[in-house]
């Protein structure tokens, strides 16, 4: 029989909308900046040249130098690398257990769900930044403390969203039908759960990456995060703060980069609800 298709073919990956495309472009530019600069310019982010401090941008130093004569171009590239790497790492370590535990809790229900739910609530009871500060206080200036702290805060979102969605899906006819047809849990996850969860998880991941970057910069700014001479956006801001009058352009650079970084991720995440 012939039919009238009222809905256009559903595409495998939803096309990015205008805003998301802008976000993706900005992110791609930042990635290119972070990884191409060390490759094209022979600049060491830690090399000090005390004779050439707070210089204006020039041909040799396209973004000028900081108060210790370090190349701002090299430092910014290193800082973006660090921030993005850290964001990727914390998002992955938060998303993987978050999604897995969420699926298990939503699927099994019962006491397991209650135990995992209470665990998530316990983590949520502490304000996120406080938890990170706590860990950083235990191991000051350590990269892993920051990373574990941020991941601990982030996984709960994945867990909660995935659990709520899974709970609905597990009782749905589509899962029941596949179960009756003799398919195992792995198949059910791959064919039924993941396609439904993926868009939400990816949106959360983009927002999560932005908040991880912000958390790291905030900690750097209040001098409890990473230690100098590491090139890190928050740290660069606080180091350059005393020179804001003499070298406003130097101070502005990490701020602008941080802004663009967070903006690009938020644009990428922010899709229309429909």
């Amino acid at each position: 029989m012939s039919t009238l298709t009222l809905h256009p073919a559903r595409r495998r990956l939803p096309a990015l909308n205008g805003r998301q495309r802008l976000g993706a472009t900005l992110l791609a530019l930042l990635l290119a900046f972070a990884w191409l600069v060390p490759w094209l310019f022979d600049a060491d982010p830690a090399r000090q040249q005390l004779t050439r401090i707070l210089q204006l941008p020039s041909l040799a130093e396209p973004l000028g130098t900081d108060h210790l004569g370090r190349s701002l171009l090299a430092r910014l590239a290193a800082a973006v690398q660090l921030s993005l790497g850290m964001a990727l790492l914390s998002v992955t370590t938060a998303a993987v257990p978050g999604v897995l535990l969420g699926v298990i809790a939503g699927w099994r229900g019962g006491w397991l769900d209650r135990v995992l739910g209470s665990l998530a609530d316990a983590c949520l009871a502490l304000p996120g930044l406080l938890l990170v500060l706590l860990l950083v206080a235990i191991a000051p200036g350590n990269f892993w403390a920051l990373y574990v702290g941020i991941s601990l805060v982030l996984w709960i979102e994945y867990f909660r969203v995935v659990r709520a969605r899974t709970r609905v899906l597990v009782t749905s006819p589509q899962l029941e039908a596949s179960r009756l047809l003799g398919f195992g849990p792995l198949y059910l996850f791959r064919r039924h759960l993941w396609p439904e969860l993926a868009p939400q998880v990816l949106t959360l991941a983009a927002f999560g990456a932005a908040s991880a970057i912000l958390a790291m910069a905030a900690l750097g700014f209040v001098s409890v995060g990473l230690r100098p001479p590491t090139a890190e956006l928050g740290l660069m801001m606080i180091e350059l703060l005393p020179y804001y009058h003499e070298a406003p352009w130097a101070m502005a650079q990490p701020i602008v980069v941080l802004f663009v970084l967070v903006l690009s991720l938020n644009l990428l995440a922010g899709r229309d609800p429909r």
């Binding site: 256009p8 495998r12 398919f183």
Partner: protein
Amino acid sequence: MSTHLLLAEGIAIQGEGVTIAPFSYLLGPGDRLTLLGETGSGKSLIAQAIMGTLPKGLRAEGRLVIDGERFDAADNASRRALWGHRLALLPQEPWHALDPTMRAVHQVAESHRHVAGRGRRDAMYAAWADLGELGLAEAGTKLPGELSGGMAQRVAFAAASAGGAPIVIADEPTKGLDAPRRDAVVELLARTPEAAGALLTITHDIDVARRLGGEVVILRQGQVVERGPAQQVLTHPQSEYGQRLLAAEPSRWPRPQPLGEQQAPVVNADGLAKTRGGRELFRDLSLTVSPGEIVGVVGPSGCGKSTLGDMLLGITSSDAGHVQRATGHPLGFQKLYQDPPAAFSPHWRLSRLLDDLIRRHRLDRAKILPLMMRLGLDERLLTRRPGEISGGELQRFAILRVLLLEPCFLFADEPTSRLDPITQRQTLELLVELARERHCGVMLVSHDPALVERICDKRISLDGTSSLTGRELDTAMA
């Protein structure tokens, strides 16, 4: 001042592969117009074009005159001010249109207050009066989730008509309702023309069209196939399609070939009982299903028809009694669902889903093609996703999927209630034929007693009242 309430001239809809040919009609006070047609014939779009709620990408053309005021159909926003006052839409599946967190009476009072502009106290009073009149006095303090489909329908009707709109558009008002509820809804709808309003109903149910009377328009793929007074069109249709549509009514179906000698039952249930939410669904229910036998289950919505089937499949547990299933068929117990798309993951091509099944159970690929031919499924359909083929095709694909596992018992939970009559007939005839041929016992749930009467060997009627137990009745098949 004008003698007509709604005049539509040359309404056409275009875009995204949809074409609805220009279509005109005139509705005066007391008139009723019914658009009849299969799923995907564009019936709902005509209602949306009048309301001005067409989905993005679709464009309406033509001219509308509503209560003497002229509108351009292309300008969607222009009719917004009429909503509730002049035009009321009773949506499909009204339980989705009600706010799940708001008690029924408040939803009706809200329309009285904000659409009709009454005071808070007056609105509440009017809402209670409306509900009382519709026999819902007890349901007023309930949440939509606690209402049955028929009650939700009446609440939605009360909320939609509180603004006193003379033109009511009902989009598939009886979808998913059982026969008594369906008649109640038809009566409800008939109030509008009785009160000198105009009623435009969109349905695929011939019986609804017949009961409503008035003018009937049969649509097919966006084209008007036939139109005229209900009496004439629904008894002596001129068009070939109209005749086919009429022949698809269950009471005109041919009876299936008789079931041969009885064999050992595939399912034997004894003394089943179930209580849900403090209400007893059934008690001391015993039944057997033999290979190839079609057992029909009828009863009002919410009486536990689906629960009974799930018990036989072993998905749900029973409070008492036991179910004995034929041994040696680990995958022999399968189910067909009411809403075909809901039983599939919408993200994968059908070929992928079929491949998964073949690989999982090492099935013989050679068996698939003949069975697909038998079910009237084109091989090209496999390249599409579940949402991209029609409900009838998808249900037949679901039948294909379960038959590949050679089931001994199939629980068909209203498998055709969302399909139009012609597709329903095709699908059920095939199902019965294949069940007989493959010695698969079928338990068929339906809200249509005529259908069960026609094709089932045995009928089980579950009455909603808790005092009654399930009765096993042999039909005239003997």
